[in-house]
């Protein structure tokens, strides 16, 4: 049963001998006329095809987005057609020096095997797979196609579109706070930390104003990733978690910023000498310093559990006894027997971050927490009461 799709299209003459046809079609129809040419070795050892397998997790993310409210996929899928596909210009329509509208006819058979299809998907297989799987009626996509009977031309285009450099993560993070659509999970999770980072970096009166290095603030001293990890830890297991629990409402960003301002103001105050230097000169401004201090913020907040969060003065009171046991800019950390570490040999690795954090916690417990008289045995905290009864 031979069919034909006839679609309005625009022919674009791009360079000598290279002509493109661009058109729109329901993404669910594309597999009817375009196959995916998977890479493999034939029995004689020769290579055939070029596409990798579908990446299910990636497809799932796109599919989630497609099933959200009014999704949009503006970038075109690229298809290579063989010469069975024909373009007929519309003599009555307006064209330009290099472009003219017309009708593209694509022959196809219902349930044809892959080798009978006139087209191959060069770019966009994950998007098309997501459209195929998504529980939606239809989803028109833009397709840019070229006609060639030569497989090597397809392979070349495939390599060209897939050898671009991915965006730097830092730029993506910096763009996050300005978005609200459903994004891939990994980015979605970082949206709130990215927003807090932005505010701490920009807000008038923030102790970290202008100090965090981002794409648009390359002179910042502290790496954005250190701040993001510090925030993520606290949002999950520390003081910031308390303010993410408004009954299914949005998290209380302003309260979070108040805590962060209070704590980092205290750090700036207590560790004046190590503050504001580049990480090369001060380990306080470095990943290990920022993350371990963040965990200390959470510990101090738990010592003052009876209030919503400690004031800058209270944070400073609790940090002060630690000043003499820290070696941010000079000397040796005393991490225990046989564990002498020169100040600048503390690296930004999970092992060193853990070592430094454990040390600071032990010091804090012995110099402050245990000395404080009668910290009441913590009653059930508010956050536990707020935990929904899910049984």
């Amino acid at each position: 049963m031979r069919n034909e799709l006839r679609l309005p299209a625009i022919e674009v003459k791009q360079s000598p001998g290279k002509t493109l046809y661009t058109f729109a079609v329901d993404g669910k129809l594309v597999p009817k006329f375009a196959a995916i040419s998977r890479v493999r070795r034939k029995d004689d050892g020769g290579l055939t095809g070029y596409q990798r397998p579908e990446v299910l997790s990636h497809i799932d993310e796109i599919r989630n987005y497609l099933e959200s409210n009014s999704p949009m996929i503006p970038n075109a899928v690229v298809v290579a057609f063989d010469s069975r596909v024909k373009f007929r210009p519309d003599p009555k329509a307006l064209g330009s020096k290099y472009a003219r509208p017309g009708i593209l006819s694509i022959p196809f058979e219902e349930d044809a095997s892959d080798d009978k299809k006139p087209g191959f998907v060069v770019d966009g297989q994950q998007r098309l797979a997501a459209i195929r799987e998504a529980l939606i009626e239809e989803f028109p996509v833009c397709v840019t196609s070229f006609v060639t009977d030569d497989v090597s031309q397809q392979t070349e285009q495939f390599i060209l579109v897939n050898s671009t450099k991915p965006l730097p993560k830092g730029l993506l993070y910096e763009l996050l706070p300005g978005t609200s659509a459903r994004l891939p999970s990994a980015l979605d999770r970082r949206r709130l930390p990215a927003l807090l980072l932005e505010r701490m970096n920009l807000d008038e009166g923030s102790p970290l104003q202008g100090m965090i290095q981002t794409a648009t603030n390359p002179r910042g001293l502290i790496k954005d990733n250190s701040i993001l990890r510090m925030l993520e830890y606290s949002l999950n297991d520390g003081v910031l978690y308390r303010f993410s629990l408004s009954e299914d409402g949005p998290p209380d960003v302003e309260k979070m910023l108040e805590v962060l301002h209070a704590f980092w103001t205290a750090v700036k105050e207590v560790f004046k000498a190590a503050w504001g230097l580049p990480p090369k000169k001060s380990r306080l401004m470095h990943g290990a310093g920022i993350i371990s201090m963040g965990l200390l913020m959470d510990a101090i907040s738990d010592r003052y559990r009876d209030r919503r969060y400690p004031s800058a003065a209270q944070f400073a009171t609790d940090l002060l006894p630690l000043r003499d046991v820290c070696r941010w800019t000079t000397g040796f950390w005393d991490f225990g027997p046989g564990q002498q570490r020169k100040w600048n040999e503390v690296q930004n690795t999970s092992k060193d971050i853990e070592l430094l954090t454990n040390y600071l916690m032990v010091q804090y417990k012995s110099l402050v927490w245990s000395r404080a008289t009668s910290i009441a045995e913590s009653p059930t905290s508010k956050e536990d009461k707020k935990r929904k009864e899910r049984k």
């Binding site: 520390g238 959470d298 899910r390």
Partner: protein, 420 residues
């Protein structure tokens, strides 16, 4: 006899949607997840066993906790971290060092002070002394004329070290005014050496003793050790059996004076065992394997190299899920479901010698999940016997723990003081 459930942060995500295999985007690990005692209306154990090795991670064995989680545990203590107020009975928490994690080292990697500090911070109810496992069983060394060479000096030294550490542990527990109940650990290589360790610990003043290193022992060996210990135990001595895999002899353990034990078997068998994956009071069933195409490395390699078709793989995988849905709705027969499951199995594991067909037929024919009254099976239905991702497998593990605990109560008679 009390049953302690060893923790390795086994939680389930209640937001997980089994039809679409997705979780909520806002889910926070551990915070929004549920422990077994938060899943069941009646809590299927008497307490947790928390190991320093699991919390800190040791060597190649990474921690099951993030850095921030670990410090939250140390700040607030285990009762709050584990949310034990959500349990239907009063749970106790026992701490140990996880000696099997450092069994290859010459010496334990911790100091007694460190261990006491860890137990204190975690607010455990019981804490085990620092010990070193002896991987050797030589009952012939107990004979009167046995040569000393039967047991290498290094092994004898481990027993001495464990006793020395127990002594130091008890002294520092007292001087540090810790409030948890100290438990001495006994190690040995034979009935006599174990019994002698227990005697020494009693002399030091321990009222509770944990028996370590018995995991690899065969049942008769284990029983002869327990008999020897039983003969020297003072009345009222609390005896904890560490890490028991064979749970069918609990009655005998109780007779020999064991007052508590811990076991990961019910949970682990759900996704580690070749055939005993789903417990029922009568017998154990094999779970139906429907591996995720992306979660199966061997299959992924074949797909990446173009040897097999990804489309075919996914069609077969989907067909298995679909046929199970229809089977549970009564629209497919056992044989129809079985042929779909076997077709996928032949595809992803062509050379398989596992011969699952008969086992699967039994699981499908008996459909044990339909008869199980536990909260997991009520909610999950047939998904509970699908051997697939962590969310299903762990729930099946929870069901096993619940079933096991019920058997335990039946065997030993309902105990006093178990809260409603």
């Amino acid at each position: 006899m009390k049953f302690f459930f060893p923790d390795s942060q086994d939680l389930i995500d209640p937001s997980f949607d089994f039809a679409r295999e997705r979780r909520s985007t806002t889910r926070k690990r551990q915070r929004d997840d549920l422990y077994a005692h938060e899943v069941f209306a009646s809590t299927p154990f008497d307490g947790f066993l928390v190991s320093k090795g699991i919390v800190d991670g040791y060597g190649a064995l990474g921690s099951r906790y993030t850095l921030a989680q670990r410090h939250r545990l140390l700040r607030l203590g285990a009762p709050e971290f584990f949310r034990i107020d959500q349990a239907s009975r009063k749970l106790s928490i026992m701490g140990d060092c996880g000696a099997f994690t450092y069994v290859k080292e010459d010496e334990p990697p911790y100091s007694v002070e460190e261990v006491l500090d860890f137990y204190g911070n975690c607010r455990f109810d019981y804490g085990l002394s620092l010990d070193h496992v002896i991987l050797l069983y030589k009952p012939e060394a107990d004979a009167r004329d046995a040569s000393r060479d039967l047991v290498p000096e290094a092994m004898r030294a481990r027993r001495e070290l464990t006793l020395r550490l127990a002594k130091e542990f008890l002294q520092k527990h007292k001087s540090g005014r810790y409030s948890f109940e100290p438990m001495g650990v006994a190690q040995g290589w034979s009935p006599m050496s174990y019994a002698s360790s227990v005697k020494d610990l009693q002399k030091m003043g321990y009222r509770s003793v944990a028996l370590g290193g018995m995991v690899p022992l065969k049942t008769p060996e284990l029983l002869s050790c327990l008999q020897a210990i039983h003969d020297v135990a003072k009345p009222g001595l609390q005896l904890h059996l560490l890490g028991i895999t064979r749970t069918e002899h609990l009655k005998e353990f109780a007779r020999l004076g064991i007052t508590s034990f811990d076991s990961t078997s019910p949970l682990r068998q759900a996704f580690k065992d070749d055939k005993d994956n789903y417990y029922t009071p009568g017998k154990n069933y094999t779970a139906l394997r429907v591996p995720q195409v992306e979660g199966n490395p061997a299959l992924q390699r074949k797909i990446s190299s173009g040897e097999v078709s990804q489309d075919v793989a996914r069609k077969l995988e989907k067909a298995c899920l679909e046929v199970m849905r229809l089977f549970d709705a009564g629209q497919r027969t056992v044989e129809e479901a079985l042929s779909v499951l076997m077709e996928y199995e032949r595809f992803y594991d062509p050379g398989s010698k596992k011969m699952h067909e008969a086992a699967y037929r039994e699981t499908l024919t008996d459909a044990p999940w339909r008869k199980c009254p536990c909260d997991v099976c009520r909610e999950l239905r047939y998904h509970v016997v699908l051997f697939r991702g962590a969310e299903r497998n762990r729930r099946r593990g929870f069901h096993n723990v619940w079933t096991f605990h019920r058997q335990l109560e039946k065997q030993l008679g309902l105990r006093q003081g178990s809260a409603a």
